[in-house]
């Protein structure tokens, strides 16, 4: 059984995640406006409704994240070797979402 729920919601800034939200269910952000929250969690479900989140399956969320990361990796790979040397740690790494 899935322990995580994935949604897509745009972070509008102040109030998108409150301290209470963060302390209650620790939302975790990923590229492509993908957010991970605990499954079957009342506070998380209320937050999803508040932020007008669109629930995605793990596979759908993974595909969105992969697309964004692949594009960012391609952008980094197109840099010159000198530019790469100047930006250590900035090549986006692949992310595998949890079940």
């Amino acid at each position: 059984m899935a322990t995580k729920t994935y949604i897509v919601a745009e972070n509008w800034g102040k109030g998108f995640i409150t301290h209470r939200d963060s302390a209650s269910f620790s939302p975790c952000g990923f590229p492509a406006n993908v957010w991970q929250v605990p499954a079957n969690n009342r506070d998380a479900n209320l937050w999803i409704a508040k932020v007008l989140g669109t629930v995605k399956t793990k596979a759908e969320a993974q595909a969105l994240v992969d697309t964004e990361i692949t594009a960012a990796q391609a952008e980094y790979d197109a840099l010159t070797e000198e530019q790469k040397a100047n930006h250590p740690g900035s090549r986006p790494t692949d992310i595998t979402l949890e079940e």
Binding site: I17, A72, P88
Partner: protein, 331 residues
Amino acid sequence: MATYKEIQGFTVQNLSSDSTSEGQVFYNTTDDKYKLIVATASDAWATGGAMSTGRRELGAANQAPGHSAGLAFGGYKGPPGAVSNATEEYNGSSWTGGGNLGTARQRLAGAGIQTAGLAFGGGYPPTAHSETEEYDGSSWTAGGALGTARGRLGGSGLQTAGLAFGGSTVAEPPSKTNATEEYNGTAWTAGGNLGTPRYMLAGGGIQTAGIAFGGNTNPPPGGTNATEEYDGSSWTAGGNLGTARYLLSGAGSQDAAIAIGGNTGSESAVCELYDGSSWTATASMNAVATYAAGSGSSNNLALNMGGNAYKTATEEFTIAGTIQVEDIDVT
């Protein structure tokens, strides 16, 4: 349905400014909002207002207290990418434009507060900046130049008592430096050298009680967990970070610092709090952050802004037990 007065025995007060009494529900007539005063139950990060200019490698007024008086400046904006001179001021909910830096630059450091900020250093090889600029709440004016031009340095202190430490000078692979300089509001003078030369580090505190932590010691490549404390003349070793990292943000004081995100092998959201002798893990950010900037005069309230991928995001850290004002949705 029962009214609030029927349940509580009194009505909700109308106040023109926020109450400070924990547990009080009130109506703020200025903001036109119902609000509640609560103490945060645990350490946590919340999203803040988004900056107008998304950027990485920016500077911040490192000692700006709390959540409602942040100052961000410079950096590398994009896409497609350009060095920025933009300054933005944070009021606790949104950012507004301030006066532009005289010298657009990235990888700079900052000190001071929103109405008395300090920007210094920066640059991208083969250029390293030594320029210092002072902010008065509306515009920047030139100050004394750093003795050692450098980017990716650490900065803390105040406008009239700033502290610059570590960083990278011109050449690549980076010529890491351990140089420390002290600003008196007019000129920089040499201070005691860091024990561990490094760049992409973070720091906090004031000129006579500074702190430096994390960073890259390349070569050998990779993050360090080293912490050092400055007493106004020399650095001594402090407790090591639990997680070695570089490209992190930092804020706070020598005995109440916060290390924010950074690269720990990959981009990280991990945060730690320092109590003057050791670091302990605290709540992670809601999203990973590298190449960002942090501010806060203590680790009880801190800001982190911008970051890799030209982020506009701001996150606000609040330590457990802090009295906070929360808006109440009334439907």
